[in-house]
């Protein structure tokens, strides 16, 4: 029973050495990948014995480091000071002490390497202002669960003692039943089929471009293909069948890549609600855990496109306080497939109901289009005319210009039509987007700074723009009625300054 006695200095699971080793090896390999690629591309790689010796020495070195870091990693619960202590480091030793009553969450994570050797990393999240987390990289599942239970039990025992003085209602809220929500495979499939077309298209094109480049370099394509023949073939006009074939191929490729990407990222998505925090975990190859605390949520973005509307799913992006460096990486997080009802529930947990009376509704002024048309259509088109006119025949040229103007114009018009600013007493909502229409929700008391501005030629037309700075990012709404914005600004200032609610 040595393992479950965490009151004495304890080491991690022995198999963790392998995890450490693999992690170190992975880092080394990653560091040398560019070098290796250069070698392979230049075809000058000669794996002489000296290089193999380096590789072997490197492997031994990482193994040694892995072993030493295992030996030097100790954790235990100090009963005298009621704290959890982690000691680590080979040369630079460090000791982290966390007060037991401040421990907020204990999470078990599994990265890909951890999954291979079936260990879990234990992350301990404390409630300090710095939100410093401690991590035990590898523990067997049974031990990890025991440790988690001990750490969390301490907290609840402590609280139950604490709460005996208080009213009954407090206790009942404290022992809130733990709810778990999952996103099913079919929902993920729907998400994969309906999102991120442009992004994936870009990735695929980039990939083919790279592939083509390497192939051309490697095989000297001119040897096999008569380029003149191909050019003349293309100039005679490509059969429509081939174009259709290519388009269909591209669409299928995009959908497949999208679905695979979504599955990799969001496989087994769980949202667990406990102790007034929301815990998200997802991922196929490596499981990622993120904690959301309602008071840290600053901004929620709900995104939905036309297809998703038909299927009744939307994605939520939640921005938490972008504070210390350690938490920065997890400030923006995403819940991919929610139905309208689930979205409602999440809102209730995080920020309260988003319904209510949106008494003020602002649209963009038509001047919204003016400057953007100049910047995105007139300017590029005239530059293009200046520099490249001579390189195309007049039909190709006008065709290009017309297509560009039409597409960009359509996008701008859609942006102009969709853009809205809704204001209720407890929410500021901005709607924007072209295909993916997103609603951004923030609460007035989370405003840090407000800027209203107008360009001098907009003054006579009563047009201006608004920017709101929060700890989770900036939101802006441009070219709308300035006098209304000023009034809203004064109202929000009143709300911020008179409220007792803190932004965090």
């Amino acid at each position: 029973m040595r393992q479950s006695n965490f009151y004495r200095p304890t080491r991690q699971a022995q198999i963790g050495i392998i995890a450490n080793f693999l992690n170190a090896l992975q880092k080394v390999v990653r560091a040398f990948v560019p070098l290796l690629i250069v070698f392979f591309v230049n075809k000058r790689i000669e794996l002489s014995t000296s290089i193999w010796a380096f590789v072997i020495i490197g492997a031994f070195l990482s193994l040694g480091i892995a072993y030493l870091s295992y030996r030097n990693f100790l954790f235990y619960i100090d009963e005298q000071t009621n704290s959890f202590i982690i000691q680590q480091g080979i040369i630079n030793k460090s000791k982290v002490t966390i007060q037991l009553e401040k421990i907020q969450q204990v999470n078990l994570n599994q990265s890909f390497i951890n999954k291979l050797i079936n260990v879990y990393s234990v992350e301990i999240d404390s409630a300090g202002s710095k939100d410093k987390e401690a991590t035990i990289p590898s523990m067997a599942l049974a031990d990890a669960n025991v440790l988690k239970q001990i750490l969390l039990d301490y907290k609840s025992e402590n609280q139950s003692i604490h709460y005996t003085n208080l009213s009954e209602s407090n206790i009942s809220t404290e022992y809130h039943p733990i709810e778990t929500k999952r996103i099913s495979v079919s929902t993920l499939l729907k998400v994969g089929l309906t999102t991120n077309y442009l992004y994936t298209l870009g990735v695929i094109l980039l990939f083919f471009n790279m592939l083509y480049d390497t192939l051309v370099n490697k095989f000297a394509i001119e040897q096999y293909v008569n380029t003149d023949e191909v050019t003349s073939y293309v100039e005679r006009g490509v059969p429509t069948l081939i174009i259709i074939y290519l388009v269909v191929l591209l669409i299928v490729a995009i959908l497949v890549v999208n679905v695979v990407r979504t599955f990799l990222k969001f496989w087994d998505f769980k949202a667990i609600l406990s102790r007034e925090t929301l815990l998200l975990s997802h991922g196929l190859l490596s499981t990622r855990n993120t904690i959301i605390r309602p008071e840290r949520v600053q901004k929620i973005e709900v995104e939905q496109n036309y297809f998703q509307k038909l299927l009744d799913i939307c994605s939520l992006k939640i921005s938490q306080v972008a504070g210390e460096d350690t938490t920065n990486k997890k400030t923006g997080l995403q819940i991919p497939g929610c139905s309208a009802v689930e979205k409602e529930e999440l809102f209730n947990i995080l920020v309260g109901s988003a319904g209510g009376d949106y008494s003020t509704e602002l649209k963009h002024n038509y001047r919204f289009l003016g400057f953007r048309i100049f910047l995105l259509i007139v300017l590029p088109a005239s530059l293009f005319t200046c520099f490249f006119k001579t390189e195309f025949t007049i039909t190709v040229y006008s065709y290009l210009i017309f297509t560009y103007c039409f597409v960009v114009g359509l996008v701008l018009y859609r942006l102009y039509r969709v853009g809205r600013l809704y204001v209720s007493d407890s929410f500021i909502v901005i709607r924007k987007g072209v295909w993916d229409v997103s609603h951004i929700y923030i609460q007035p008391h989370k405003i840090q700074k407000i800027v209203v501005s107008q360009l001098w030629w907009q003054q006579s037309a009563d047009v201006g723009s608004l920017q709101i700075y929060t700890a989770g990012g900036i939101i802006s709404f441009s070219t709308t009625r300035y006098s209304e914005l000023v009034q809203l600004r004064d109202k929000w200032l009143y709300q911020v300054e008179s409220t007792a609610l803190n932004w965090m």
């Binding site: 840090q448 700074k449 107008q454 001098w456 009034q487 109202k491 300054e497 932004w503």
Partner: protein, 198 residues
């Protein structure tokens, strides 16, 4: 006790009614000196291809292009000077009981407001040039990240320190709002003092 009175939005205090206080007059001199240095650099840079051409006689570019580069440089300098010097006049700030307002702008006119109960800390800087003229820069930091702060440059040193002291006192007070009512009169006199100095 909890009360929730109805509030008429039109009666809320409006930022537009505030009298803004201009930056210190000496700040214009500082801006002038900065502009001078920047202008010399830009003019040197823009005329160097022309001069280089005449010294070496080797660049195959026609004179019209080189002169037009010079012209662009001169135009840039003139525009920069006009906008910066006029811009100083347009800038101004005002303190209210619960927030600080800063307005800027000649092309884009903006009003920035930071409520005191969102300010995290205040810093007073003195650049070398500003110190010569007894001026300083006051920066108010919020939790809104790198862009969420407010920087007021070109106010006198004493006033900067006073501003900082006042806001910091406000921050510590907003933690315990019960004190606000008691010291309200003191605060009002403080605002008047800051707004009316100079």
């Amino acid at each position: 006790m909890f009360d929730n009175k109805q509030i008429d939005i039109s009666t809320l205090p409006q930022v537009a009614q505030v009298d803004f206080k201009n930056l210190h007059p000496k700040y214009k001199t500082v801006i002038g000196i900065r502009l001078l240095i920047a202008s010399i650099f830009i003019l040197l840079l823009s005329s160097s291809p022309y001069i280089f051409q005449h010294i070496t006689n080797s660049l195959p570019i026609s004179d019209i292009w080189l002169v037009s580069i010079c012209g662009v440089g001169v135009l840039l300098v003139i525009l920069m000077c006009i906008i910066s010097l006029k811009g100083v006049q347009m800038k101004g700030y005002a303190l209210r009981e619960h927030d600080i307002i800063y307005k800027t702008g000649i092309i884009s006119r903006s009003q920035t407001v930071i409520p005191f109960n969102r300010v995290q800390h205040v810093v007073v800087y003195e650049g070398a040039l500003l110190r010569v003229f007894g001026l300083c820069t006051v920066e108010f930091f919020t939790a809104g990240g790198a862009l969420g702060d407010l920087k007021i440059s070109g106010i006198s040193k004493e006033e900067g320190e006073r501003l900082k002291a006042y806001v910091i006192q406000k921050i510590t007070k907003s933690v315990k709002p019960a004190l606000i009512v008691e010291e309200k009169e003191y605060k009002e006199s403080e605002i008047e003092r800051i707004n009316e100095t100079e």
